[in-house]
């Protein structure tokens, strides 16, 4: 049998394990329910951290509990049951409170996200403090640091298991059930006193019978609930009046295939991805680009391969078309349902990140068509930047053509949309001699060093390409002088060039998206802001240090992930590795600080804060260097290594700071740990929220890093020069 303190450490591990899995599942569910852009991600992550922070604050009174064990067991039962209930509620209630099928405004999304995350996060935050308190009864000062360490280790394990084992195989309810079972086992173990230990607190009677019954009951409930297949039930509720043909998960997201009147719809993370019978999409994507080149022989299509675009392109008598799709699940399922769109020996399917493929391929292509999502996320914005266009140029045959669509144009181009078009055009013009805008159903942008032709109808006729949608009369109606003049005017607006690390286009996109919704700063936001400032103002040095390092950890991790996606690619096992590196660094740092560093060393803590500041200042410089020297395909492994090492370092620094600060704070485990955890979570939540939605779009990564550095400099100075 494990000793009591070991069990508590195991409990912390289990909590970390479950928390990370629940977090990943809930984030995806929120993404599906609301919208798939970075604002949503920021809100979900920020909301998660904030509510957990509040939970750890509530755990403050834990030192007053006479029987923390009972609460631990009860808490574990809740941690097991809540996530399943929450996902169920989210799926069912989403369309009752909001309109089915419609995106939800930012303000509402924030409130709804908080409401959905609250139960689990509050309990799990509380439980962290509670575990610290329980452990402190055995080993006093080091308790917080050790719980922190175990929790981080649990998150690493949870992240790895989710990414590599669970996500591609099970539905979300099943995944949650597995996390719950683990938590319940540990909870059950805590019910029984360990014979090896002399209990220091005689009052702490183990809740043997009630605890065991409780955990067993919850276990049975969960198994029964999950056996009724809640995923099937809720999916049907989410897509009423559609036949569900397939529902599944991949590491990249949730895929549902539905049928409506003989039309198949692929719905990826809640957003329609491909529908059959969408001729205009297929033909416009294929022909505007293909008709430009006189004898195209090799074509690259990034995204949208299953929609039938590849098949359409075959009409040009090409040698080979390569379709790159990030998610292998989409290719598999696509092959199953839409085999006809893909079965031709000339179609080559590759499952890879489009940008990574373009970086590494040694093929040369006459036409490159990017059918990527709109630049609503930093991830998608990667396909619209100057560096990307240069990378494409490397693989273009002389006079080759690049083509993609951006936004649609019915009757009016707003200033916001004009800036997007203009940014895209200017960015293209940094490396292509000719750029052509075609105001079709969507606005297509073509770029090449060879001349481009706008007389598409005539060329289609000349080459006798059979078309259904982009007919002579369609083109006549769409490509009127009037419309062409309008997109010209629009693309002449002043706008910034879109760069990987200073994503202007992404900024414009988000602004336009947000402008659809009524955003008003009301009472609620005001109260939150005042509360935050008061909280920051009253903070003592140690919590402030943790706050700053929490901010830095999440802000810089997001930046490192962005850097990784830009400089390398966005394959989930690689991304998973980066995240794991961070957690490993965190665990190693806190382990080292727990064991090796002398307690209460004020100067050391201050110094570590300065190191963090230095690290954030160095990051943009390192990125610039990597961008410049790492462009060649041979240096990609080195780039990957560098970013992994950087992430490890970041985790290490953050990992050292937390235990150091906790030792500085002195006695009263629950009190201290709650304060520190709260500061850490709130810092991290602000970091996540601000960096992805405000700082990067507005100031680029340089600004984001500078602010982070400033915060940590202030933290370090505060720690060194102020007592208390």
């Amino acid at each position: 049998m494990l000793s009591e303190s070991r069990r508590l450490i195991l409990a912390a591990f289990a909590m970390g394990f479950s928390a990370v899995i629940v977090q990943l599942v809930l984030m995806r569910e929120l993404l599906c329910a609301f919208s798939g852009n970075e604002i949503m991600l920021g809100i979900a992550l920020g909301g998660w951290l904030l509510t957990t922070g509040i939970g750890s604050l509530l755990g403050r009174s834990a030192n007053r509990l006479r029987k923390p064990a009972i609460f631990l067991v009860a808490g574990f039962a809740l941690l097991a049951a809540l996530p399943i209930a929450q996902v169920f509620t989210l799926r069912v209630v989403r369309d009752i409170v909001f309109t089915r099928g419609a995106a939800v405004g930012v303000g509402e999304t924030v409130l709804a996200t908080l409401a959905i995350l609250l139960p689990y996060c509050i309990v799990s935050g509380c439980m962290l403090t509670l575990t610290c308190e329980a452990l402190a009864r055995y080993e006093s000062r080091r308790a917080i640091g050790r719980v922190y360490f175990a929790d981080s280790m649990g998150s690493i394990a949870g992240g790895i298991v989710f990414c590599f084992v669970l996500a591609g195989r099970l539905d979300h309810f099943m995944i949650l059930m597995i996390a719950s079972m683990f938590i319940l086992l540990v909870g059950w173990m805590l019910c029984f006193p360990s014979p090896a230990d002399q209990l220091p607190n005689q009052n702490d009677k183990r809740p043997m019978v009630p605890g065991a019954i409780l955990t067993a009951m919850v276990m049975i409930m969960i198994v029964v609930a999950v056996l009724t297949d809640p995923d099937a039930i809720t999916t049907r509720l989410q897509y009423p009046r559609q036949n569900i043909l397939y529902r599944g998960n991949s590491p990249y997201g949730r895929l549902v295939v539905t049928e409506t009147d003989a039309q198949l719809n692929f719905i990826l993370n809640g957003q329609p991805y491909v529908s059959t019978g969408n001729i205009e999409q297929v033909e416009e994507t294929a022909h505007y680009a293909m008709i430009q080149a006189s004898t195209p022989c090799k074509v690259l299509l990034v995204g949208g391969g299953i929609s039938g675009t590849a098949k359409e392109i075959l009409k040009y008598g090409i040698d080979e078309i390569t379709c790159v799709e990030l998610d292998p699940r989409i290719l598999d399922v696509g092959r199953g349902f839409l085999g006809g769109n893909l079965d031709d020996p000339r179609i080559r399917l590759v499952s890879n990140d489009g940008r990574l493929f373009i970086k590494t391929t040694d093929g040369k292509y006459d036409v490159v068509i990017i059918d990527a999502p709109e630049p609503a996320t930093l991830q998608a914005n990667r396909f619209y930047t100057d560096s990307f266009y240069r990378e494409v140029k490397r693989i273009l045959a002389p006079g080759g053509i690049l083509c993609f669509a951006l936004g649609d144009y019915a009757n009016y181009i707003s200033r916001e949309q004009a800036r997007m078009l203009s940014s895209a055009r200017r960015t293209l013009e940094t490396c292509y001699r000719n750029v052509l805008l075609i105001p079709g159903g969507r606005i297509f942008l073509l770029a090449s060093d060879a001349p481009l032709h706008s007389d598409i109808a005539r060329r289609l006729k000349e080459r006798k390409i059979p078309v259904v949608h982009v007919t002579h009369s369609y083109l006549d109606a769409m490509l009127t002088p009037d419309r062409i003049a309008e997109v010209q005017r629009a693309s002449n607006e002043s706008a910034e060039i879109n760069k990987d690390f200073s994503p202007a286009l992404y900024d414009y996109y988000l602004r336009r998206w947000v402008s659809q919704f009524k955003t008003q700063f009301g009472m609620l936001e005001g109260i939150l802001a005042i509360a935050l400032f008061t909280y920051l103002f009253l903070m003592r040095p140690a919590p402030f240090a943790v706050f700053a390092s929490g901010f830095a950890a999440s802000a810089l991790e997001i930046i490192l992930l962005l850097g990784f996606q830009v400089l390398y690619g966005c394959l989930y096992n690689q991304i998973g590795l980066v995240v794991t590196m961070f957690m490993t660094g965190l665990a190693a740092g806190s382990y080292y600080a727990n064991r090796r560093l002398s307690a209460g060393n004020r100067t050391l803590l201050g110094a570590m804060m300065f190191v963090m500041a230095g690290f954030s200042l160095a990051l943009p410089l390192i990125f610039v260097a990597l961008h410049r020297f790492g462009a060649a395909p041979e240096s990609l492994p080195a780039v990957r290594m560098t970013i992994n090492v950087l992430t490890l370092m970041l985790g290490g620094i953050a990992g050292v700071i937390f235990p150091l600060a906790s030792q500085l704070q002195g006695d009263g485990a629950a009190h201290v740990s709650s304060r520190l955890y709260t500061a850490d979570f709130i810092g991290a939540s602000l970091g996540a929220l601000l960096v992805s939605t405000l700082l990067i779009p507005l100031t680029g990564i340089t600004g984001a890093c500078a602010l982070t550095a400033l915060l940590n400099l202030a933290g370090g100075t505060f720690v060194i020069f102020r007592k208390g």
């Binding site: 009174s61 007053r64 509990l65 006479r66 029987k67 009752i96 409170v97 909001f98 309109t99 089915r100 099928g101 419609a102 995106a103 405004g105 303000g107 509402e108 409130l111 709804a112 908080l114 409401a115 009052n203 009423p240 009046r241 559609q242 539905t258 409506t260 009147d261 003989a262 039309q263 719809n265 719905i267 809640g270 957003q271 329609p272 529908s275 019978g277 001729i279 205009e280 019915a410 009757n411 009016y412 707003s414 200033r415 949309q417 259904v468 949608h469 007919t471 009369s473 369609y474 006549d476 109606a477 009127t480 009037d482 005017r489 607006e493 659809q516 919704f517 009301g522 009472m523 609620l524």
Partner: protein, 450 residues
């Protein structure tokens, strides 16, 4: 069991867990509990109030205290972009607009739901006058109007603002914006007329004015026999549309309203005197869905259809089929039944294909099958001219067939007319009267969906 010397253990929480509760701590808990409840409650309330189109969809939706003031107002006024509204009543210092069923009641300084009207010093003023933000020359088929001077071009324009809030609006960049967000009253005045330089930048478009006489002149110069009030919603710029219609009529130009039909009868009859054709968007046949997707209601639209029929304006109807919302076949059937009965079998009905737009982005496009089914339902209900829009590759989707001999009398491809077999408003093959306005000005007696 509680150690009386241990301060921490004797704290209130310990009391609770030990089952003993002092009066002071009970009070404390009561207050904390109430505060917690109040917090959660207000969060929930805020959430529901703000959820724009959920169960608690806002119904009034005016913008309190949002009227432009000071310099902006002065500039706007100086440009001539302000007019006193028609069809409203004064209630003390407040006003109530009687133009559309929203009946905005505005106190001084408020802005209306359609974003275009404000209460300035006790009078209702419109800010959408002579300041179109979008204008194009379109084929009349694009409106879509299929039975009204086919093959002609129409000078089309719009200002910002709309009386509805459709979640799938294709033109939300104008319809869900204030006039001030699309136009700029600063700098030099720039009136767009045939002899003036054409706009070269978005700034020019934002600055330019087009007064009713300019619109008429532009339409004539561009060889458009008609003017269309379209894209956003003419009801929202009623005063501008009204004056322009009147002037256009004097200049022998036709007027076309492309509208949601969300308007009060008195106001409609008032403007209809000058209107030649209309295109009404009947967004469904279900009150609840009208509320949910469009923040409007069905009954006024049905009333508009009846009114238009009674005043003899030629009109056609479009019905967008939104998957899983307005695609219920029994509802489509009821709608078509109502139309045949109340409007007549001659009214052209265009079914249109939904594709994700604006906020309604999480629904798939309408399956072509569904549109075909809708067409057969409508035909079975007796409607003579049924079309399917926004789809390609469907045989006869946009062709007018003679209701008698079933031959194709007008063949269209996209917005182009490729063949017309109509002579004197009659089928060239069997001489059956085809409803519509086919040749200049002389509407056949039986036309007008009568």
């Amino acid at each position: 069991m509680v150690d009386p010397t241990d301060k921490t253990r004797a704290s209130p929480s310990a009391d609770v867990f030990a089952g003993t509760l002092t009066r002071r701590s009970a009070l404390k808990y009561a207050i904390a509990g109430l505060a917690g409840l109040a917090c959660t409650g207000s969060c929930g309330w805020l959430l529901l109030r703000r959820s724009e189109a959920g169960i608690f969809a806002e119904t009034s939706g005016i913008f309190k205290g949002d009227a432009p003031k000071d310099e902006l107002w002065e500039q706007w006024n100086k440009r001539g972009w302000v007019r006193e509204a028609r069809h409203y009543v004064k209630i003390g210092p407040a006003v109530m607009c009687k133009l559309c069923p929203n009946h905005c009641r505005l106190s001084p300084g408020d802005r209306s739901r359609c974003r275009n009207k404000i209460n300035r010093g006790g009078t209702l003023q419109t800010l959408a006058y002579a300041n179109p933000c979008a204008f194009h020359v379109d084929p009349v088929e694009k409106k879509p109007l299929f039975h009204f001077h086919p093959g002609t071009r129409t000078f089309s324009l719009a200002t910002a603002g709309c009386v509805l809030r459709c979640l799938n609006c294709q033109n939300w960049d104008i319809s869900q914006k204030k006039p001030e967000e699309t136009k700029d009253p600063s700098g030099q005045e720039y009136r767009l007329r045939p002899d003036a330089p054409q706009p070269a930048s978005l700034d020019d478009i934002a600055r330019l004015s087009m007064f009713p006489e300019d619109v008429a002149a532009m339409a004539q110069a561009l060889k458009c026999p008609s003017i269309s009030y379209t894209y956003s919603e003419p009801v929202a710029y009623y005063e501008y549309a009204y004056d322009t219609c009147k002037l256009a009529r004097d200049n022998k130009l036709k007027n076309i309203l492309v509208t949601s039909g969300y308007i009060e009868e008195v106001a409609l009859r008032d403007i209809a005197q000058y209107v030649d054709a209309a295109h009404v968007d009947l967004k469904g046949f279900d009150e609840q869905i009208y509320q949910q997707l469009n923040s409007g209601s069905l009954q006024p639209v049905l009333n508009t259809l009846k009114t238009l029929k009674s005043v003899g304006v030629w009109f056609e109807i479009i019905n967008l089929i939104v998957p899983t919302y307005t695609d219920k076949e029994d509802v489509i059937q009821r709608m078509c039944g109502w139309l045949t009965e109340n409007i007549g079998a001659d009214v052209p009905l265009h079914f249109s294909r939904f594709s994700p737009a604006h906020k309604l982005t999480q629904l798939p496009p309408t399956p072509v099958e569904k549109l075909l089914k809708a067409r057969s339902i409508a035909q079975a209900a007796g409607l003579r001219y049924v079309y399917i829009g926004n789809v390609r590759g469907v045989e006869g989707a946009e062709t007018t067939f003679c209701p008698n001999c079933k031959k194709a009398v007008v063949v269209r491809d996209m917005f182009a007319v490729t063949a017309i077999n109509i002579e004197n408003s009659r089928c060239a093959f069997c001489k059956t009267l085809i409803a519509g306005v086919w040749s200049d000005g002389n509407m056949p007696a039986a036309a007008g969906p009568a």
